[in-house]
């Protein structure tokens, strides 16, 4: 395969923000996750936990509650007092509505899905009716003394439990009056704490209310009599979240120490019908507060300040050994945050509120495999571009020539012209963007940097010609009539003739840029597309899907290539299919048309299409360099997948030229170092 110089970049100082809420939707098997910066992500658990959609965050919009209602509608509420509904098709915010109760701390959708309940800072619980296109305020429940931090509906929809500070109220939904007020003991191991905050409540169909609080207790209450039934002291610190399974036979709580406890309803003796709640399994997958938990039918899901989303399958519920049986830890977004200007050797890093431009260093030395070469020039930080306004950046791109930078937030699109004069950089904003260019989901420059492609959230793709310091709108590819799905991924052919665009579920559309019309649509596949690229010369479109399948589609011939058919017929190696992060970037070798480079977070791979495909018996990963001559020959001719796991976690990788690679790594230790310190726990022997 050959020798490469690899620019190993670790200065991309990206820190994901902590997870604040998770909400599981049983109907579509999707998980909504909100982060502390207001970002909301949608994971499709059926598609190998692929993060298929996201809504960018906003500085003033701290999400405190997230819930699914009425089937597939997603609502969030936060400390700015607004209830927000998200448009899952267009990937924007449908509307925001002020609840007029001060900051909102909690929200719950009724079991029927037709009503929404929010708990506010002023102690009010407000009931909203969910209408087909909006929500409508219905009435207030009896005002409580302090903020409502948690809410739970009785499965029959007749009563609700509301957790406040020092007490839990049970309301009758019909009358809106509090029928019970259950005081929670402030004391913690004999010492009176200041206040006991009820972080979470769950109402069971038999009338039991389970509460978790800041004193480390999990308590079971009888809502009919308002009495405490059982008390589990599980932590020295706050228990911050609770989620119960649909069958009400198990629930999960998360603590500020990072521990997740599983409780199960088990028989007292082996064959008696009497059952009781027992703390069965503790899991320690987090280092920091577990702010949110969810309970899917087969897994416990938790997330918190340490930014990981952890999906821990319940082995007793998993029937076959497949993807669902493995523990998942999702840390990095499943989209690209890095773009690269190959000719100028520039890297553009995207952060929530700024962009960074770096120039790679160089070396004159050569070496053999594994050597670290002495640098003749170190990497330079050229530019730090801060956004205007409170909104997070959705996407960004640098042109291949390095002289254009474009980025977009939820409401504005920015285009900059860069001029390089020796070591000085001159940045010039291109003003007067047209009205239709307000928000983009994906931005792409053509290879010769003369055209800009912008995928907007209405499903259309705009084509813009770039001139020195100005631009001209050429065309807008409108979505197929009847579809509103927005395009999230774009790819352009190096010759500039073809543009491929893909949404989250429908097939990939290929447009002819010269004739400005739709050329063809690649047949839709069951799993979402995670990366797209068009090969030079052949104009083959390479598509990676979240189930780790890779297809090659010939655009001129409008059909899958022979190689793609062969690999589909033979099937990918089982280890390839068992990888648990999606391929986020595909690129090609400029001189070798048979080579495809692709990478996920834990490996990169160069596929040499001229070599035979590996079958399940061959060794897929070949980590060790060969030791003798015959070994080299054997290895060289082994199989088409040349995989290296040397760089990880890998956020970006590309070929700068035929002998140079750039790899952007983000070591987990560096992220952990930037998190707030976890609660200090006494460890035995320290």
């Amino acid at each position: 395969m050959g020798e490469f110089k690899v620019h190993r970049v670790r200065f991309f100082n990206y820190v994901p923000s902590g997870i604040r809420c998770v909400a599981y939707n049983n109907q579509s098997n999707r998980l909504a996750v909100s982060r502390t910066d207001g970002t909301v992500e949608i994971y499709n658990l059926s598609a190998n936990y692929f993060q298929e959609k996201f809504f960018p965050g906003h500085e003033s919009r701290a999400t405190e509650a997230l819930c699914w209602a009425n089937g597939q509608r997603l609502f969030s509420a936060g400390l700015n007092g607004e209830i927000i509904e998200y448009d899952l098709q267009a990937l924007n915010i449908k509307y925001a509505m002020d609840a007029f109760g001060g900051p909102i701390w909690s929200m719950a959708a009724s079991p029927s899905g037709s009503q929404l309940l929010v708990g506010c800072e002023d102690g009010s619980v407000k009931l909203f009716q969910i209408t087909p296109d909006k929500i409508q305020f219905e009435r207030n429940f009896d005002r409580q003394k302090s903020r409502i931090l948690s809410l739970s509906w009785h499965p029959a929809g007749t009563h609700i439990a509301a957790g406040s500070i020092d007490y839990i109220s049970v309301f009758d939904v019909k009358s809106g009056s509090a029928i019970h007020k259950m005081l929670v003991d402030r004391q913690y191991m004999g010492v009176s704490k200041r206040k006991c905050i009820i972080w979470g409540v769950a109402f069971l169909s038999d009338g039991t209310v389970i509460s978790v609080d800041s004193a480390g207790k999990v308590q079971f209450w009888d809502s009919a009599t308002g009495t405490l039934v059982k008390n589990h002291l599980i932590a020295n610190t706050d228990v911050q979240s609770i989620a119960i399974s649909d069958q009400e036979d198990s629930f999960v709580v998360g603590t500020a120490e990072g521990t997740v406890f599983h409780f199960q309803l088990v028989s007292v003796t082996s064959n008696s019908s009497e059952k009781q709640w027992v703390r069965t399994k503790p899991f320690q997958h987090h280092t920091h507060d577990v702010r949110a938990v969810a309970h899917s039918p087969i897994a416990l899901i938790s997330g918190g300040t340490d930014t990981h989303l952890v999906i821990r399958p319940l082995m007793e519920k998993v029937e076959v050994k497949n993807y669902d049986a493995a523990l998942r830890k999702i840390t990095f977004p499943h989209r690209r945050l890095v773009s690269c200007a190959k000719k100028k050797q520039l890297l553009l890093f995207q952060f929530a509120h700024h962009l960074e431009l770096w120039r790679l260093g160089s070396t004159v030395a050569t070496g053999k495999n594994g050597d670290t070469l002495p640098l003749s020039k170190n990497a330079d930080h050229l530019l730090h571009l801060k956004t205007k306004g409170p909104e997070n950046i959705i996407c960004s791109c640098i042109s291949p020539c390095g002289s254009w930078i474009a980025y977009s937030t939820a409401s504005r699109f920015f285009l900059y012209r860069l001029n390089y004069e020796h070591d000085n950089i001159n940045l010039q904003r291109v003003s007067k963007m047209p009205a239709f260019l307000r928000s983009a989901l994906q931005i792409l420059f053509s290879e010769d940097s003369t055209k800009l492609f912008v995928a907007s959230n209405q499903g259309s793709v705009h084509v813009i010609r770039l001139l020195e310091g100005s631009f001209k709108h050429l065309h807008t590819f409108q979505p197929q009539s009847g579809t509103v799905e927005s395009m999230c991924l774009l790819a352009v052919s190096p010759d500039g003739n073809w543009l491929a665009a893909s949404g989250t579920s429908a097939g990939v559309h290929v447009y002819n840029v010269k004739q400005l019309k739709l050329h063809c649509t690649v047949p839709a596949y069951n799993f979402p597309v995670t990366a797209l690229a068009i090969a030079p010369n052949t104009n083959n479109l390479v598509i990676a899907h979240s189930d780790q399948q890779v297809f090659e589609y010939s655009i001129p011939d409008k059909q899958y290539t022979q190689w793609s058919r062969t690999i589909q017929k033979q099937g990918f190696h089982h280890l390839w299919l068992q990888r648990d992060t999606p391929i986020t970037h595909i690129s090609f070798h400029p001189k070798r048309p048979m080579h495809i480079l692709l990478h996920d977070a834990y490996m990169f791979c160069i596929i040499d299409k001229s070599l035979p495909l590996p079958n399940d018996k061959t060794l897929l990963y070949n980590p060790l360099p060969p030791t003798n001559e015959s070994d080299i020959i054997r290895r060289r001719t082994a199989h088409a997948f040349k995989i290296s796991k040397k760089y990880k976690p890998l956020l970006f990788m590309d070929l700068l030229d035929e002998r140079t690679l750039v790899a952007v790594e983000r070591p987990l230790d560096d992220i952990i170092a930037q998190l707030p310190p976890p609660i200090k726990k006494k460890k035995f022997g320290t």
Binding site: M1, F4, L373, K646
Partner: protein, 718 residues
Amino acid sequence: MAALEEGFTLTAVPLGSGPDGPLGVEQSDKTDQFLVTDSGRTVILYKVSDQKPLGSWSVKQGQIITCPAVCNFQTGEYIVVHDNKVLRIWNNEDVNLDKVFKATLSAEVYRIHSIQGTEPLVLFKEGAIRGLEALLAEPQQKIETVISDEEVIKWTKFFMVFRHPVLIFITEKRGNYFAYVQKFNSRILSKYTLLLGQEEKSVTQSFSTSVHRKFISLMSLSSDGCVYETLIPIHPSDPEKNQRVVRSLLLKSVVSGNARSGIALTILDQDHVAVLGPPLSASKECLSIWNTKFQTLQTSKELPQGTSGQLWCHGENLFMLHGKFLTVIPYKCEVSSLAGALGKLKHSQDPDIHAMTHFVNWETSQGYGLGSQNSEQSKRILRRRKIEVSVQPEVPPSTQLLAAIQKDSEKHIEVELRKFLAVKRTPDFHTIIGDVVIGLLGRYKAEPSFYPRNCLMQLIQTRVLSYSLCPGLMEFALEKTDVQILQLCLQQFPDIPESVTCACLKIFLSIGDDSLQETDINMESVSDYTATIQDGEIEEQTEILQNGFNPEEDNCENCAQELIEKPRAATEESTSCPVTGKRAALLNAILHSAYSETFLLPHLKDIPAQHITLFLQYLYFLYLKCSENATMTLPGIHPPTLNQIMDWICLLLDANFTVVVMIPEAKRLLLSLYKFVKSQISICSELNKIEVSFRELQKLNQEKTNTELYSIEVLELF
């Protein structure tokens, strides 16, 4: 596993019966003799093993027998009813039924029941029940009506529950079934409505009952092909009220769902039922035995000439009509338990024992123990196996061997056994071996002079036996204090109950040395170190102990002083093995055996204190031996592991701590053990420190590779 043996027909000539088959088959007062009543006019007494009739009686032309003949076990007379109301009583000497005792009753009789230990009962068609004596005293007495107008008695059974006779009968009224339970100690008749559950449409075809503690388990075979179970309480909470009992599904699709008639069911024992009927809608009728506990088909036999849907079970024989002939099929049911079937893994890393031999292969073992569900494949295998069975030779060597066991001399049995072991192993090898052992033990019980020791040893060494296959064997060896057999059993059986393990331990500890001298015990597990025991190479050992000990670091100076002295003292004690080599070998067998603490502890408490002390001494000795080398193992082939030794020390102390501390000798032993353990702990804490340092070293190594923010490296892909 249950098995059906080769059947035989009882009547050489077809029964002169109508289409309904015989009225009944009832036991007579002599074993092996049965009264068969055909539905015409004849009662025949058969000796089953000889397959010949001993007597035959007929009623006059024009009369018809309406109720199967039974034997009054108290008097040895036979009773039959003809023309519904006429009762006849006779005995073996009578020839003509016309001339025997006759009583004409005032109501129609449904059935006469007679079982051992109580007087016969007469059940009238209207549901009234009378004892025979009371009835004969006044034959024309008025018989009351118990059941309502349209109710018809479908089935009835008489049995003993805790020495009290109980009669149950089932009636039907417009598709509803009722159960009546008459108890004769309290004279209470309880009525139950049988609720059918969802399958309302199915017609119940056959019933059978057995008694489980406080319940009568009523099994019914429905026309949908499923077996249902209904539990009827023996002591009803409110006997006056009409109570409802629900039936639950026990076995699914044992016979074809659309077989309208000709299906029957009988309970064989706690876990087994025999079912008569076509397994598939199109197939021939079959007799099959099902295990209700594991829901598996145990065995089945095809009845190609058809049957009448009647099935009687007496003793170990099943009676049914096959074609025109009454057929007897002896069966055998062994208690099946999952543990017995699967065994329990004993030596996980033992290389020379093939653990797999302990498992029963469900696919190939003799009883066609195939899937319980009506999957096509299992049926196919089943048919194929049936063909195989039919081509087997007439007398397999196992039957020959089993026959030899019953009467031949010990020498001869040995020869037969050797012959049997020499031939190729059949899939049911282990069950045959189990039968052979049980046969040998049975004979021993009958004639105590018969002691087939060599045979038993040979059988145990086949490595297919387990405790549950021959439960009597170890008891027998314990009784005989045959330590050699016990050692073998401990080594070979995977599933010895803890109580038996403990009983063995008791014997091993208490048996006299002189009697041990004569026995031939496998010394494999001790062979090496018994020699070194006498040599007493202790110097090395003390050094090792001292290596781990560091007086400067220890806070307690006295303690340290003791520690130096004590290990030395301890090793001096250990110079000689506290038990002889043979006893050590026996004790090692105990150490290797599998156990569960909870079950073992109570039994350990029963061992006398001086034996506990001895065993502790031995364990301590082993522990010291173990710590002589760095790998903490004992020399020799298959020695006890350190974990086993430690576990047993803990177990013994747990069970007998209060006792042991009272005995001065044991107390000294415990003290030196404690000192030794303490010195070991100090070694471990030193090791811990070293380990921490090395861990830091490793961390340093890792960090070095991960510091730079930017580098250019060379990578070659192969």
